[in-house]
């Protein structure tokens, strides 16, 4: 019951995030919504692990959290500098 309430809330929130990701309007709104969606997914996986009595789901949640963060950073960097590697101009200032 407890877990059901929590997962329901998370799912509803994910739905909202999804609508925002589809509606935009700006790129940043979409990134924001997708990032939020990812975080909620992590929570959902963790709750599902407890729900089904399979705590090893937590490993998956952890990996998902990691990839979600890096994905957000990468997309952002790409939209800002149009490259994943060197910043504009090719000089290695070496960062985002």
């Amino acid at each position: 019951m407890l877990f059901a309430v929590a997962s329901l809330a998370v799912a509803v929130s994910m739905l909202f995030a999804l609508i925002r990701a589809l509606a935009g309007p700006s790129v940043f709104d979409r990134i924001l919504a997708v990032n939020m969606f990812g975080t909620k997914t992590v929570l959902l996986i963790a709750i599902a692990g407890f729900f089904m009595g399979r705590p090893e789901f937590l490993d998956i949640a952890l990996a998902y959290a990691l990839i979600n963060f890096i994905g957000t950073i990468a997309v952002m960097k790409f939209f800002r500098y149009r490259t994943l590697g060197l910043p504009r101009g090719g000089e290695d200032l070496g960062d985002l």
Partner: protein, 138 residues
């Protein structure tokens, strides 16, 4: 570009945990979800995060592509080599039973080594692919 100090500090904080988690997934694979492929991806993710924040050039200093290429080949060789040991001992290819005294610990060892080979190859391949894509000027 010094105004990204938060990202840099957080990245430095996270990196050891990411690698630790990769190693956990690598060597815990026979008990829970995970194994060589997933561990390789997570390990590569750590390197990719580093490359994103600190730049491609610094990342290439940490893991030169040349080293990655050798690592990639070594992973495949390790995988195939474990199988060859089976042939040497007169059993079938990839028969792990002959790797240790008894069949059970032999299988354990065999799976561990094969997964290690997979992990090495996957992490090297993922990182190399990222380097290739990120290295392209538009």
């Amino acid at each position: 570009m010094h105004d990204h100090i938060i990202l840099r500090v957080i990245t430095k904080l996270l990196m050891p945990f990411i690698f630790l988690f990769a190693l956990y997934v690598q060597f815990h694979g026979d008990y829970g979800p995970g194994g060589g492929f997933q561990a390789g991806v997570i390990f590569a993710t750590g390197l990719i995060l580093y490359a994103l924040i600190f730049g491609l050039r610094s990342a290439k200093k940490v893991t030169p592509p040349r080293v990655l290429r050798v690592q990639l080949a070594l992973g495949v060789l390790l995988y195939a080599g474990v199988g060859v040991v089976g042939i040497m001992s007169g059993a079938e290819y990839l028969n792990y039973d002959v790797l240790a005294e008894d069949a059970h610990s032999g299988q354990h060892l065999g799976i561990l080594l094969v997964e290690l080979g997979v992990g090495l190859t996957v992490s090297a391949a993922m990182t190399l692919i990222f380097f290739l894509f990120a290295g392209q000027e538009q």
